[in-house]
Amino acid sequence: MIKLENTSFDCCIKCTVCTVYCPVARASASYPGPKYSGPDAERLRIKTPFLADQSLAYCNNCKRCETVCPSDVRITDFIYQAKSSRLTQKHRIRDFLLTRTDLTGQIATRVHALANRIMQMPATRLVLSVIFGISRKADFPRFDRSTFARSLHRQVTYQQTFPETVLYFHGCYVNYYDHALGNDVVFVLNALGIGVIAPPQKCCGVPLIASGNLKKVKKNGHYIVTKLLNAAGAGGRTIIFSSSSCILTVKHDYPGILQIDNSSVYHQLEFITAFIHKRFRQKGLPEMAGVNLTAAYHAPCHLERTGGVIHTVSALKSIPGLRLVLLHSECCGIAGTYGFKKEFNGIATDIGQGLFDQINNVKPDIVITDCETCKMQIQTHTPYPVMHPVSVIAMALRTASV
């Protein structure tokens, strides 16, 4: 019996635009491209599941295919559903290590100094590479001390003194690796007169989707939607994200790839720069000091897919003294955990080369991007410091208030 609920591949007119703009197909001849892996092969896989082949694993879920598709085909929905249900996982332990961010994060942040030292040891990287298939060339982020959730929880009474509060889905990156970014988010929102509360949360599941483990994501997804709904309450508080991939997953991939109903909170989910930009517009610009920096802005693929680039660019443009160079949109290659996988690290670097060249040509003071793994990739391959847009706004606000 053929299930007919998802036949949006019928909208595909085989124009091949997706494959033209697919960064993986360009970098590696082993990937036949999104048209073949998605709508083309899906017709066959429905009837003949064994036609699913290993080339599906090459997709890095950057979603540039969907961004360029003139016919609005949800190409990666097909690819990831097929990858999950029809491919056998090859690197079980590696995928476990890369995708259970909450588990590794909760343990490692308790012993962060030791964990960081172990992770940076050449011997560790050799073992990870040889036995588990985690690339030695990819830079691991350093664990922070304790978790961001705990530190924000300590301020909960203070945060509730604000006339208005929002919920902050900080995600694993801020929680375990980059409290500074989380603090910048809180600082900027506080400066705008808004308190910040962290609702109970788990990993959104973007690394799990990449590894084809949709079962575990569904579990996390249902947990997240329920907790967010409870926390948002009757007032329907806004739920802010600072990671462009987390919001893409919760807002877009839950109903798409995972068929998790998120309609109860859908309209409250908002990316941080969109929220800030709208505030700037409604309430006027806060006082910001001139930053006197030349910044190259890299739009993450996932933010582009959700149409959020306009807000980041507009918000950045309102920072005095910031000379913004908008880079031609290209994938940086890392695509979350993709570049950490040994078999794909070379492809990830090849994909990003165009972007690295662009950045090196601009010779900026800083690079700005909204995505944590884009940041890691750019820092690994160029000499420039990389900042989240909110951190740049926080810098301008802090200098003004001194």
Binding site: C15, Y21, R26, T67, D72, E270, A274, G307, I310
Partner: protein
């Protein structure tokens, strides 16, 4: 959205194709700030990459001198977009367009003031106004006139072009009946950058990237020489490079001693992508903001003005002083159709015709009279302000490109010219508003 002070953009353009980009570049170059909202790649990717102005009259009569023909054509078709803009605007817009892409290193050939005829993948000749220099130029024109010997080539395994088919059709044309037309295939070595991919899987874009790489130039030249034959002209599918195409082709011509030109083939169109790249680079260089992957789902008209638009992924509204609707026709979803009805989905503007009758489609798919639905679209004033359902024009909204009614881009061979002219004209109307 209370006062003009909250508008961040002077102009928001819905649609990032030929019309929208031309309009955005013109506005931006005159100091207005523009954002283009684009949902997926534009029809340029499916076009020949040549710009048609006016190739045929409604009676299928061929147009040789479009600017001589335009005044009478406009008189007979007062609702045609060219009539609304006027012949001066057509000429100014096309010149502006040529200069714009030239800034980005893309050179267009025009047989001014006449049309020229570029060779299609089927070996037919099609009237057009601008072609990329690698598709048609003065050397080709002169060579064509002197009964040249021609080789129509391809790369072995590239399935989107068939030299024998092109040759057979070309020989039927009076200009070429006495020419020696030959076909040849080149084998590309697997090591030329194709990695472990077989050449058989390759699309035009893959080959274009191989050809674009300067390291492969000598190899490709030697493969062409391995034909063992020479001709005055070598025609190849339009995949001879993207970013470096003009250098590549002149270098190949020098090395092989043949005049090489490109024949546009099936999508994805490399010449179309070159135009797309050039226009987007120009727009970005002027400071314009291009938002890809977003679609405008609704627009609110209050009184006779657009108050704001709503996009798929944002839960708030975006406002500007002016708006341009350049969302294309049915394929780009700038127009939608349902049982019996045609609709403009963003603003629900008045369209012509509203209901689908028997005349909407011709009996044959490739009917010479073309299809009625090609002429459907929104109705506008001479300033390109669209009419609402109540017949009132929207004063801060301008329409351009394939969303417009009353012209047939295919039958007239006028699609590119209308997109550029109306995009340019809309920009001038906006600039004019600002002055008054």
């Amino acid at each position: 959205m209370n006062s003009d002070a909250t508008f961040e953009y002077d102009c928001i353009i819905i649609g990032g194709g030929l019309a929208g980009l031309t309009c955005g570049i013109k506005c931006q170059s005159e100091g207005l700030s523009c954002a283009i909202v684009s949902s997926g790649m534009s029809a340029l990717h499916f076009s020949s990459g040549s710009i048609d102005l006016l190739g045929y009259l409604p009676d299928r009569k061929l147009v040789h001198h479009p600017f001589d023909t335009l005044p009478a054509f406009i008189d007979q078709h007062p609702e045609h977009p060219y009539a609304k803009c006027g012949p001066e605007a057509v000429s100014a817009a096309l010149t502006f367009f040529q200069q714009t892409v030239a800034c980005e290193g893309l050179r267009l050939y025009a047989n001014i003031p006449a049309n020229h005829f570029h060779v299609t993948a089927l070996g037919t000749l099609k009237p057009t106004f601008y072609s990329q220099q690698t598709v048609f130029n003065q050397t080709i024109k002169t060579a064509f006139e002197s009964r040249p010997s021609i080789i129509i080539g391809n790369i072995h395994g590239f399935k989107d072009f068939h030299p024998q088919l092109a040759a057979a059709n070309l020989k039927k044309h009076p200009l070429f009946t006495k020419c020696a037309i030959d076909c040849a295939l080149i084998d590309l070595p697997e090591a030329c950058g194709a990695g472990d991919q077989t050449i058989q899987n390759m699309r035009s874009i893959d080959i274009a990237r191989i050809v674009d790489n300067p390291r492969n130039l000598a190899m490709i030249a030697s493969r062409i020489e391995s034909f063992g034959r020479k001709a005055d002209i070598l025609a190849m599918p339009a995949f001879l490079g993207i970013d470096n195409h003009s250098q590549v082709i002149s270098a190949l011509s020098d090395k092989t001693g043949m005049t090489i030109y490109e024949v546009p083939t099936l999508p994805p169109s490399i010449p179309g992508m070159r135009l797309d790249n050039a226009l987007k680079s120009r727009f970005a260089a002027l400071g314009g903001v291009f938002i890809a992957g977003e679609s405008v789902t609704a627009g609110r008209i209050q009184g006779n003005r657009v108050a704001y638009i709503h996009t798929r992924n944002q839960d708030t509204d975006i406002a500007a002083r002016f708006y341009v609707l350049a969302g294309g026709s049915f394929f780009s979803r700038g127009l939608t159709s349902s049982a019996g009805h045609i609709k403009e989905p963003v603003f629900n503007l008045a369209v012509r015709p509203e209901t689908i009758t028997g005349e909407i489609a011709a009996p044959g798919f490739l009917d010479p009279a073309s299809h009625g639905f090609m002429r459907t679209g929104v109705i506008t004033t001479s300033d390109l302000n669209p009419l609402q359902q109540n017949g009132e024009p929207v004063t801060n909204l301008f329409c351009s490109g394939a969303v417009l009614a009353d012209y047939n881009p295919v039958a007239e061979a006028s699609g590119g010219g209308v997109a550029i002219t109306t995009g340019y004209h809309a920009a001038n109307r906006i600039l004019n508003h600002d002055k008054t």
